[in-house]
């Protein structure tokens, strides 16, 4: 074995830890390296699901059993298992799988209801999750969403986001002049538009609905990476 390759490597996957070990090394060396790595994890290792991967096609049942017992004893991990049998897939199967993954976005069912056009007085738009209106919402119209509301135009009607009780949601409009706002049960009326021609959004701070400039307080900053909604 060359020097560069470590005997034990660890990465976090989904709901557990994936430990890659080099079965050609001695059991003592592996235990020593495992101890070094798992000590660093402290409490995180407790009750975790550990997968031991030998990266070979041969089975090392004895080795895995021994290391599994060792980890359970020493670091109180919940389960230790061998990796799922993924290498049995044929090349053809792999190709199809890859293709399906690439195309998956085409079959993705969106949680966003996106409408283009003008919502007029007396009309009511209800969305189970997020709602995007590419157009104006006239006075007297009503838009209700379980998630966020984005209006790419002027909002002059009534808007209720996070319906009925989600206080994390926001209402954003490029031209923000709503009649009435509701976010998760909080209601506010008579909002003065303090910055004309600037995108603004309403959110809840300390149990009150506040209106802020969108570009100065990016409400989506709370999300660390792009998420599919």
């Amino acid at each position: 074995m060359n020097e560069h390759r470590q005997a034990v490597r660890l990465k976090g996957v989904g709901d557990g830890l994936w430990v890659t070990i080099d079965p050609s090394q001695s059991v003592d060396l592996l235990k020593r390296d495992l101890t070094a790595i798992f000590k660093r994890l402290n409490e995180m290792a407790v009750n975790s699901k550990v997968t031991l991967d030998t990266e070979t096609n041969e089975s090392h049942t004895n080795l895995l059993d021994e290391l599994g017992l060792f980890l359970k004893d020493r670091f109180r991990v919940a389960t230790v298992s061998a990796p799922p049998n993924r290498r049995s897939r044929s090349r053809e199967e792999e190709r199809i799988r890859k293709r399906d993954v690439d195309r998956s976005w085409q079959h993705h069912r969106s949680h966003v209801l996106m409408l283009a056009g003008r919502v007029r007085s007396g009309q009511k738009v209800t969305a189970r999750k997020h709602l995007t209106i590419m157009g104006d919402v006239n006075p007297g119209a009503e838009i209700v969403a379980g998630g966020d509301i984005l209006v790419m135009g002027s909002l002059k009607g009534k808007a209720a986001a996070g319906y009925p009780d989600d206080e994390e949601k926001i209402i954003l409009a490029l031209d923000f002049q709503p009649e009435q706002l509701q976010i998760g049960g909080h209601v506010v009326t008579g909002i003065p538009s303090f910055k004309e021609g600037r995108a603004q959004f309403a959110h809840i701070v300390n149990n009150t609905i506040l209106v802020d400039d969108y570009l100065k307080n990016n409400p989506f900053g709370r999300l660390p990476w792009p998420e599919v909604l």
């Binding site: 003008r118 007085s121 007396g122 009309q123 006239n138 006075p139 007297g140």
Partner: protein, 266 residues
């Protein structure tokens, strides 16, 4: 002859639907078309009074629909304007006396006799409105520059779109001086909210009150600004859709408009 049915509506009451119907109908007849105006406000008829034909009513639209008379008997001919007819509403029935199916049936025979059929829609969005728009090919939405009128017009426009009718907008009762002072919404503000095609602007005109009370057609008075505006709307409906819409705002006279142009350039 395949006539066109145009419904004049607004949602809100008292914005000038009846006056607009009478004036546009009369103006269209003066352009040589066979025109009938129908009062759909059953139980609260007004159009006959505005047109000065009140004392000549024998039969009404309910009689026509129920088969008690022929269209020819119920249609009152205006003696001052050729080719202009009125089918009045009944004052003693209510709006449930007619159904949308009745109107669709009636419209078939009307289309054969007239070039243009104007329907004066009652205020509201209930049965009366349903009846009036049942057979309509086109719609004119009358709106005054007031927030309440715009709100109702917006609702009506939504309902008309739902019936696959694309309406056109008449902004009525504009007072250019008040618009200039900023005390009244301008027609641009109205169009911005309603976002439908504008077909005419009608200024506030005292002569309307006089004409309505005396039953003298407004469009026969040459010096009435509102009457002229309705003439132009009729022209736009009757094959001149590109007739420019007169800008009724503050800018009076040549020098002020020139000044405005220079200022804009700077």
């Amino acid at each position: 002859m395949e006539g066109k049915i145009i419904v004049v509506t607004s949602g809100k009451g008292g914005v000038g639907k009846t006056t607009a119907t009478a004036c546009i109908g009369a103006a269209m007849a003066m352009q040589g078309k066979q025109v009938v105006v129908i009062d759909m406000d059953i139980g609260l008829r007004n159009l006959d009074v505005v047109m000065g034909l009140e004392n000549r009513i024998v039969f009404n639209i309910v009689d026509v629909v129920k088969g008690r008379c022929k269209i020819k008997q119920a249609a009152i001919k205006d003696r001052r304007i050729d080719n202009l007819f009125l089918i009045p509403a009944s004052q003693s029935d209510n709006k449930d006396s007619l159904t949308p199916e009745d109107i669709i049936r009636l419209s078939k025979s009307l289309r054969g006799r007239f070039d243009y059929i104007f329907m004066d829609c009652p205020a509201g969005i209930e049965r009366g409105f349903e009846n009036a728009v049942a057979a309509a090919d086109e719609a004119l939405v009358v709106c005054t520059p007031e927030v309440s009128s715009i709100r109702d017009a917006d609702r009506i426009i939504g309902l008309l779109y739902a019936k696959s009718i694309t309406p056109k907008l008449i902004v009525n009762r504009i007072v250019p001086e008040m618009v200039a002072r900023g005390d009244m919404l301008s027609h641009e503000d109205v169009v911005e909210v309603l976002s439908i095609d504008l077909i005419g602007l009608v200024k506030m005109d005292d002569k309307v009150v006089v004409a309505t009370n005396t039953g003298l057609p407004l469009v026969l008075q040459k010096d009435s600004e509102a009457g002229n505006a309705f003439h132009r709307i009729a022209q736009r409906l009757n094959g001149q859709p590109n007739l420019p819409i007169e800008n009724s705002d503050n800018g009076k006279g040549f020098w002020r408009s020139l000044g405005r142009k220079l200022r804009r350039r700077n």
